[in-house]
Subunit: 301 residues, 2 copies
């Protein structure tokens, strides 16, 4: 009886997952406004200091739109986005490129919007397209399909998969110095490193031969520790890096990432601190300048 | 001689600071595109799940533009933004509102784009206006001054200060349950709590009487610890909270925030962990489902 119930639940979950896959949304409404707004926001405000870029945002939208509009979504080559990629590509700061595979959340928290590292999503190309949905339509007057875009399993080359493949390759080609890859050694049902991942297919093959790879393997607080730098699929990764003749190192649970995970669960046993914070009375001297000069009034004071 | 040099440096710094203050930029270029793009992005993508809102973004821009355009920037009342605030205001999730004063960076890192807490900048009103510059012009055909906007010291009521005062009041009025205030007990030359701050002037007076205030006092790693829950300006704050008859508690260096600070400086002595992470071999069971069902292919795998 219990087996039947379990089987039924699995079947129901399968059907649920299938529905989710097949019930894809269409192109995000107001796509051009979101795209153009993000572009000016990136260039003039959010990444003005850290990732400056010289683009005309209206022209960039035209390049992007031309790549997929009025076309069937299932037969779009990476080359379609070539002109867009060339207009939008940026130099990456040395030692700052961060790759992620199955670790979107923690890698981006660590990267801190380019404050610590630069992910693909911190480059203009990735920032513009992140979390939006788009695909072409050969029949709709708008050139886009607003009711349903195919999933990545529906067809071999699909509008946004081609885009992300080209974006990943562009990003990897621009990385210089030490590059960091964040992997999850606690994944349930999937290896930390897969040869089918974007990193394996589009990024590793495009890294410059002078690049050094730093692999960071994180684990869920409280475990399980399924894979580490020295076992499981990460050995495949180090083999693949060696075949490219790249220098690399691998670290399990770097303390900076453990601390970030601990912010969500300070009571976990991996998170206990040796001592509490300093007691009152510090060593840093007070400033000589009147406080108004140090801190002109603003909404941040 | 040394005194003369010091005086000269102070004068030069004063002049430098004055230049920075008087050399304000004008209205951010492409303001309407950035505003409208942010609005659809907020509503349809970035905060769709956590902070849903029912607005028409084009109409909202009209409300915003009407509030300050074709007017001298130095005489703008908070009431000008009233219609905009009413159209854009949102309910806040209970126990999630987070206020900051002099702690923009760490408070926002902790809040995590509404993942843990909701700051003013995670509401539509704050998200739209964050880091943009705008002011009106009575003479320019665009209705906006694109060459220079006054600073907050230049005139008593200025376009964006009035906006942020009204936004802060709107945010405080919507807070429910426990509200969190993050203060910095290590500030150089300024108190952790000032009665001239936005929190004191526009937020505390507008909190509902049923609200409970949780004060979190953070300190720079390695000190100095200038003020804590029980001394300095934080005593003024607790007096002000008591005059409003609100329930409150105060915590110095909550571990979650210490961990976030430690991500930037894991070697600091406050950051040492009692023990390293678990060794390989974990307790969490593998899933029964085939991995494809658990993890349909996407760019995040």
């Amino acid at each position: 009886m219990r087996t039947v119930t379990t089987l039924l639940s699995i079947l129901m979950m399968t059907s649920f997952v299938y529905d989710v896959i097949s019930d894809n949304p269409g192109t995000t409404p107001h796509l051009s406004e979101i795209f153009v707004g993000r572009c000016w926001d990136y260039k003039l405000i959010k990444y003005k200091q850290s990732m400056s870029v010289d683009v005309n945002c209206e022209a960039l939208w035209e390049d992007f739109f031309k790549a997929f509009s009025f076309q069937a979504p299932c037969s779009l080559a990476m080359e379609n986005y070539q002109e867009f990629m060339e207009q939008a590509r940026q130099d990456l700061p040395i030692d700052k490129a961060m790759f992620w595979s199955g670790t979107y959340v923690i890698a981006h928290e660590y990267a801190q919007d380019s404050g610590r590292y630069v992910t693909l999503e911190d480059t203009l190309i990735g920032y513009l397209a992140n979390s939006i949905v788009w695909c072409g339509s050969a029949s709709d007057p708008s050139g886009m399909n607003s009711s349903r875009c195919p999933s990545w399993t529906d067809c071999p080359l699909e509008a946004s998969e081609s885009f992300w493949a080209a974006a990943s390759a562009t990003f990897a080609k621009s990385a210089k110095g030490k590059v960091t890859l964040v992997l999850d050694g606690s994944r349930d049902g999937k290896p930390a490193y897969s040869r089918q991942s974007f990193f394996a297919k589009h990024e590793l093959p495009n890294l410059d031969e002078t690049v050094e790879v730093v692999i960071l393997v994180t684990h869920t607080l409280g475990g399980p520790v399924r894979e580490t730098c020295t076992n499981g699929s990460i050995v495949d990764l180090t083999d693949d890096i060696k075949s490219r003749n790249l220098v690399f190192e691998c670290l399990d649970d770097p303390p900076a990432i453990v601390h970030l995970l601990c912010a969500d669960d300070p009571e976990a046993r991996e998170c206990r601190l040796v001592k509490r914070h300093l007691l009152p009375g510090g060593e840093k001297p007070e400033s000589d300048l009147p406080s108004l000069l140090n801190n002109p009034p603003s909404r941040f004071t």
